[in-house]
């Protein structure tokens, strides 16, 4: 009931603000407010509420457009010739497409981003900086990596349950596969949700280069690191520890609730997905470090379109909410990982635990995985290449592609996709 009232209040406020905005935009071009497009499901409202409380004179019109992809699509349509927002959140995977046409966005270094550069992880900011130094987006969060495992199932299989001991079990992916085999022998049940997402997408993000070489040329077909991650995935699949449930499918959700697999690779944003898809498993999970030690998957950026009516107001919001202190506050309330390393040693972040995951110190575990990352170049086609490689590996799991031909099939699929 309380939530309902809150929602009603927010909706009513939003409508009031909307009418105030549209009334103001008629004659008063120097209005102090701005329009903000974000995704659904990440509770952006909470951040905006904080800002509204601090600045009651600044009307913020928040629109939760849809999923990350839908938001990027709406932004594309808007940039192509519609009404653009003043501020927009872009997911990391979608960013390279927009980086290809930087003229659509305000170069944030003209507003003062160059002075804040030192606040952010350099490899994260590098992804939103063009070759000639234009800053297109300010990173709001990163998707550090870890592994979520079921303590109760580990105990039943005779494996250690303490998160530090579990982390020590798998310094490498090969050791991880060995633990999986042990689990399967003891229980007769699969160990891991699937290999394409839980192995390939993690391992390929741990390299020093991904689908491009140092000169930003496509190298997915000759980079030994990509091939190694691909072969590793096939090898782990061959050991028979996979439940073959594709991430986010109905079977994946059901299997997670029923405890039909014990381990899921979990970028920081995945924790929320586990929490909502398997609410009955609260307290049974714990979090260990990822084999290989580091990695990032996900994260988002705030950008200001060139035709924004009020870029100053949007920039004021960015500087306040995305400062190290702002990101720390956001982490403490919402759980997404800051991009500002100065707060990684803050006692509040280090001491932050999550009861759903047996009070695991999520702040400490996840920040460890992102500080040592070597940045690699991400191009506009990376999302396409990644999903074609992932899809081929999924076909292997579904028995539709022979593992022996998988690499050739994958390269053919990528080439077809890049041509189109």
């Amino acid at each position: 009931m309380k939530r309902l009232i809150n929602t009603a209040a927010v909706v009513a406020t939003a409508m009031l603000l909307a009418s105030a905005c549209s009334a103001g935009s008629g004659g008063d071009s120097g209005s102090s407010g701005f329009e903000f497009w974000s995704f659904t499901g990440i509770n952006q409202k909470a951040d905006v509420e904080v800002y509204r409380k601090a600045h009651p004179d600044v009307p913020v019109k928040l629109t939760e457009v849809g999923s990350t992809t839908e938001t990027a699509q709406a932004l594309t349509a808007a940039l192509a010739g519609g009404k653009v927002p003043d501020l927009v959140l872009i997911q990391g995977d979608d960013l390279p497409k927009f980086m290809r046409s930087p003229e659509n966005f305000v170069d944030l270094s003209t507003l003062g981003a160059d002075k804040m550069k030192g606040d952010y992880l350099d490899w994260v900011l590098k992804q939103s900086t063009t070759a000639d130094g234009k800053v297109i987006g300010i990173p709001t969060d990163v998707g550090g990596m870890a592994v979520a495992y079921r303590k109760d199932l580990f105990q039943a299989a005779g494996l250690p349950t303490d998160r530090d001991q579990v982390s020590k079990l798998w310094p490498t992916w090969d050791a991880f596969a060995e633990v999986g085999k042990q689990y399967v022998r003891a229980t007769g049940k699969p160990f891991l949700d699937n290999t394409p997402t839980s192995i390939f997408f993690q391992a390929v993000n741990q390299g020093t280069e991904r689908y491009h070489d140092a000169d930003h040329k496509l190298s997915y077909d000759r980079n030994p690191q990509v091939k190694a991650a691909f072969d590793l995935t096939l090898k782990v699949f061959g050991t028979g520890i996979s439940a073959k449930q594709s991430s986010f499918s109905t079977g994946w959700t059901a299997g997670m609730s029923k405890g039909d697999f014990a381990v899921v690779s979990a970028p920081s944003w995945m924790l929320n997905s586990i929490r909502t898809n398997a609410p009955g498993t609260a307290g049974k999970w714990d979090i260990a470090t990822i084999p290989g030690g580091s990695g990032n998957w996900g994260g988002s950026y705030l950008a200001i379109p060139k035709r924004a009516k009020n870029p100053r107001a949007a920039w004021a919001y960015i500087t306040e909410m995305q400062s190290p202190a702002g990101q720390l506050a956001h982490f403490l309330s919402q759980g997404s990982l800051p991009t500002t390393p100065s707060v990684y040693t803050d006692p509040q972040l280090v001491g932050r635990t999550d009861p759903f995951f047996s009070d695991a110190p999520i702040g400490r575990i996840y920040t460890q995985s992102v500080v040592n990352i070597k940045p690699f170049y991400i191009g506009p086609d990376d999302a396409t290449i990644g999903s074609e490689l992932l899809n081929t590996l999924t076909s292997v799991e579904q028995g539709k592609v022979d593992p022996a031909n998988a690499w050739d099939t994958a390269l053919t699929n990528v080439r077809n996709a890049l041509r189109g």
Binding site: S101, A254, N391, G420
Partner: protein, 320 residues
Amino acid sequence: MTITLSPAPAAEATSRPGRYRHTQQGWRERLAPYAYVAPFFLLFFVFGLFPLLFTFYVALFDWDPIGERHFVGLANFAQLVHDPRFWGAMRNTFSIWLLSTVPQLLIALGVAHLLNHVRLRAATLFRMSVLVPYVTSVAATTIVFAQLFDRDYGMLNWFLELLGFSHVDFTASVWGSHFMIATMVAWRWTGYNTLLYLASLQAVPRALFEAAAVDGANGWQQFRHITVPALRPIIVFTVVTSTIGGLQIFTEPLLVNPVGGLTCGAARQCQTLTLFLYEQGFGRFHFGYGAAIAVVLFVMVVIVATINYLLVTRIRSERR
């Protein structure tokens, strides 16, 4: 629809006395009918015809909606011919269309015949309940069906296991996923077509059925020699509309297998042409390539609908 109403305009035409034509009327009155239909045509030009023609134009470009665009002539179409993903989508589209449309119309015909039976009790209840799937949200239907067909936890596989068969991974295989989507489409549209058939069946004089019964015709003979011939015009209509709809199935493949993004599965096993179009145009922002797919789809629908129309009308005239 116009086909079923054909007696009405004819009656109107004969009853219209000639003197109207001779009356000198003002230009206002002569223009009035055009003014009345104008709103539709204006909206059609803006939201129907213009986008259609503009799609043809975009198909000739390498068109990035927020970046550069280059004229490439027919290169998009040439590329399409050599794109295995396009031919896969073509196969999927036709297969799903056939698997859904044929059984759907046959079942609708049978159900309409049963619902038209004189001795049917609570007829309105049954007639209305066939429409329930049609008013259910497609998204909701799709999510429920995806769960029913699930490999490990689906009800269908639970039954298969009871009967001693091993589990079938419907979503992963080509035919399994086509069967699954076709079932959803048929489930949704059978009731709608049943009501169309029923409406036109009710215009058939009861006396025909009664006379046939008196002459000793059984149910099947009545169905074959009275129901089907009486329904021929509406059958043509439903075949054409369900062809147009069936070749453009989108929501079901989009939602049934969200794994792999916009491809309806890891191997694009159930990606239809409309979904491929969407993937290229709005997933990857290749507007030109997407538009080329749209043009091909448009041409294909016109051709198939025409062939269907000719086939069905020819069967009609032969039987007469």
